[in-house]
């Protein structure tokens, strides 16, 4: 047996000591760069309670403003989630249970909004409903069809949260063995009865995921909401928009910062706490509510199982998909085609600035994706291994498993605000250079909120991986590092890719967290928000189109590249 240098390295790295050190590093990174900065605002609220009391709670106007914004946010998120569910369920059903021509096309269409930055998507949807060139043409109106800011924000949020709902419902539906339903039908149940009493109750896990994802996306969206509100010149604000605007005012007028930073912290904490309470409540509610299955209405359900009510359901699902999601989402291309005349003001687009913002966005997304790939995959392995082993570390990994989810539930703007506070504090104490470097501050913020995506997607895949593959590799003489490199990695490759794409696009998308960390940041989505704020609609539309095309290409390229690289 010859021992090569590579062999020696792998042997050394596979020792227990080395692995322990590596895992310690991974956990430390998670705690120091993801967990603590994310929830730092909570401790800030406690230590800074005096300031909050003085500037916020004793000022009825501010309190009213905060309360209204919070109520608005939750109202919108609740309604959006409800509509997502009502229209997403039939769509998921069609996707999973039907085999028809063009199914793959519909499948791709549903994912489209995921690859488009939300601010671009939001702008497109807002223009569709409010501009003269949009839906208004159909009704011959001289103004837009929608004039209520809340309704408009809802339409915008529906467009980007809908795919999350459909995907999570479809995923769980895919897993439910159809033979249960077939068994029910051979026992005499009508299709609808079988679906309602057999499949639906098995379905709750997916429902919880779908609800949490839609709700969390809606409650935290900042950029698209700001754009929607601007197009209607509304003074109404959702909580994330309130935080972002206060942060931006505070950075411009340092004398107001004393008041606005505590106020922002208060809104962030309220947003976090309320969102968490609500989600826990939803989870408990869905888990413990029994879907009524005892009562059966054979005649009605048989009647509704006939072909025309089902066709009606299909028509309804498709109508929603096209009228509310796809057409408004891509309306921006039509809008831009009208030329500069549609612009409200004629500010010329500063292309150099736009390109540099686009460059910054891509650099940030790439760096964030890389960092999290390196540090998130080991975390996923640690979690799965620990949960499988019944030993001492199990308690720790179960804790980590739950902690990892925190950045997903916390609205990104609150997370960004918290990170801003944390890193300002750290930089003031230890690294004065960091505060002057907005680029790395944004990277740190994006690392924190995209981290769960890679951990979740990889840990899910490894959990499903049959542990005997690992055992087989070990008995054939592979050391832990080789088991990982030659067996685990290639098998879970597609999940890693999915996680990477998710992180990349989410980082590219993000407005709220970016603005809450560095108000004057120039990333592409923030630049678009600024353009819309200046009412330079046409220029904003052009920028959106470039952003859409570029990010779509980037996702395709990433997918192509990763599929080609052979992990050997």
């Amino acid at each position: 047996m010859q021992i090569t240098f590579k062999d020696q390295i792998e042997k050394t790295l596979s020792t227990r000591w080395c692995r322990g050190l590596w895992y310690a590093l991974i956990v430390t990174f998670f705690v120091a760069f993801v967990l603590v900065p994310t929830i730092y605002v909570l401790s800030y609220a406690i230590t800074g309670w005096g300031a909050i009391n003085l500037y916020v709670l004793s000022d009825p106007i501010t309190v009213g403003l905060i309360a209204r914004s919070l109520i608005t946010s939750f109202e919108i998120a609740g309604l959006v989630t409800l509509f997502d569910f009502l229209t997403g369920l039939p769509m998921a059903w069609i996707l999973v249970r039907r085999r028809f021509k063009g199914r793959r096309f519909i499948d791709t269409l549903i994912d489209m909004p995921l690859a488009v930055p939300t601010s671009a998507l939001g702008f497109s949807v807002a223009l569709f409903w409010t501009s003269r060139g949009g839906i208004a043409i159909l009704f011959g109106l001289s103004r837009g069809l929608i004039s209520s800011p809340l309704l408009l924000v809802m339409m915008v949020h529906l467009a980007f949260s809908y795919p999350y709902m459909v995907r999570s419902l479809a995923a769980i539906l895919e897993e439910i063995d159809i033979s249960y339903e077939i068994a029910a039908r051979t026992l005499g149940a009508a299709p609808l009865t079988a679906a309602r009493t057999i499949t639906l109750p098995l379905f709750k896990a997916g429902l919880v995921t779908g609800i949490i994802l839609s709700f969390a996306r809606s409650i935290s969206e900042t950029g698209a909401t700001m754009i929607a509100l601007t197009t209607l010149a509304s003074v109404e604000k959702t909580a994330p928009v309130l935080i972002a605007s206060w942060k931006s005012i505070a950075s411009q007028n340092p004398e107001l910062a004393n008041k606005l930073i505590p106020a922002g912290a208060f809104v962030s904490v309220a947003l976090i706490v309320l969102a968490c309470i609500l989600l826990v409540f939803v989870k408990i509610f869905v888990t413990y509510t029994k879907i009524p299955t005892r009562k059966v209405w054979p005649k009605t359900e048989r009647f509704l199982s006939r072909s025309w009510p089902r066709q009606l359901r299909d028509v309804y699902a498709y109508l929603f998909l096209f009228l509310v999601i796809i057409i408004p989402g891509f309306f921006i291309f039509v809008y831009a085609a009208h030329g500069p005349s549609v612009s409200v003001t004629s500010g010329s687009l500063d292309w150099t600035q736009f390109w540099s913002s686009l460059n910054a966005s891509f650099s940030i997304a790439a760096i964030v994706t890389l960092i999290n790939l390196v540090l998130g995959i080991p975390m996923a392995i640690l979690i799965v291994k620990g949960n499988r082993e019944k030993g001492k570390i199990r308690g720790l990994t179960i804790l980590l498993d739950n902690l990892v989810n925190i950045p997903v539930i916390i609205p990104t703007v609150a997370l960004g605000f918290s990170l801003g506070l944390f890193w300002t504090m750290i930089s003031r104490l230890y690294f004065p250079l960091l505060a002057q470097n907005p680029f790395w501050l944004i990277v740190l913020a994006h690392v924190a909120f995209t981290y769960p995506f890679i951990v979740r997607s990889v840990s899910g895949a490894i959990e499903e991986l049959d542990p005997t593959f690992e055992d087989a590799a070990k008995t054939l003489g592979a050391r832990p590092l080789e088991v990982f490199r030659r067996v685990i990695l290639p098998i879970v490759k597609s999940s890693i890719l999915a996680g990477a794409i998710m992180m990349f696009t989410r980082s590219l998308d993000e407005t709220g967290a970016t603005m809450a960390v560095v108000p004057k940041a120039v990333t592409a989505p923030v630049y678009i928000v600024t353009l819309v704020g200046r009412l330079a609609y046409y220029e904003a539309a052009l920028a959106c189109i470039v952003l859409i095309v570029v990010s779509y290409t980037a996702v395709l390229a990433l997918r192509y590249l990763t599929l080609r690289i052979k992990v050997a």
Partner: protein, 368 residues
Amino acid sequence: MPEVKLVNVTKRYKKITAIDHLNLHIQDGEYVTILGPTGSGKTTLLRLIAGLVKPDEGAIYIGSKLVNDLSPEERDVGYVFQNFALFPHLTVWQNVTFGPRVKYWNRERTTSLGWEMLEMVRLAERANAYPHELSGGMQQRIALARALTAGTKLLLLDEPLGALDARLRVELRYELKKFVNDLGLTAIHVTHDQEEAMTISDRIVVLRWGRVEQVGSPVELYLEPKSVFVANFVGEANFLEGIVEEVSKNKASIKIRGDLPISVLDVTHQKEERVVVAVRLENMVLKAGEVTGINHLFGRIKKIRFLGISMRYDIQLDNEDIITVKMPTAHVTQRFDMGDRVTVSFAPEKAVAYSYPIEGLAKELSVG
């Protein structure tokens, strides 16, 4: 070289003791099967030897080396998994040469070993196929080739034929035995199929509740089972509960239910002791009408089953006990019908008496 020795090995999972102070010595070149019902600790035993789980107590030796602290990759064992665990992303060739490659053997050696093994299992022409493109039997052979390419002399087989259909299972077990013999390997084969164990093993280890119930050659186990459990699990037997009436120099007489006297050659039990008498189904003789004699019991035919090569009759004795008689179809000269009055008998030397099991007969006979 690869003899395997386990000394006082114990493995616990939370509250369950999977392996309980187990001692076992497997000789070099032996083909040993570990036979036992579900949950008896068979697979745990194999995983302990492979190093996939660590023992809580005791010592495991492979060759003369204590391997307790060695990880699986350092133990040099071949392991064939029940579901084969062929890596789905690798071709047959890449699967088979996985071992040499992760051990960084030189290319020529890897290649020649790989072909040698593929040719041995007669699948050289499928080298570029992916596992999912192969049939179950082929996958099983590839799994075996993969385990052997790494050059091991100790082969661990975890129900290697369990995932195959009945016919193929029978065919492949002889092939398996042949490979092991030709290559001079030591094989430890886990199974719950007693027929499989009987036909291929040099020795069988009957495992129960993590302990060795009995070790012996298939013939020993069949002819001299040491407990009611083994008598029932290896081969089939009738069990009659009774009390020892009298023990003389060369025979004992036992009263079974209904005060019926039977006579056995086994004289190891005390007078008045509660016992279970076991007689193999095929050692029972069936006659029409009532015929008197030693160990002749009367009853009626309750059930008749035709199994192709043999016939089985369930007879309800006058004392309500049920006795099953198995007779080769070729030896059936007389036709019996349901409800016929018959006599079942057995020679005293074919019956073995066991002390009544502490946990009751039903528990002793359960194989679940």
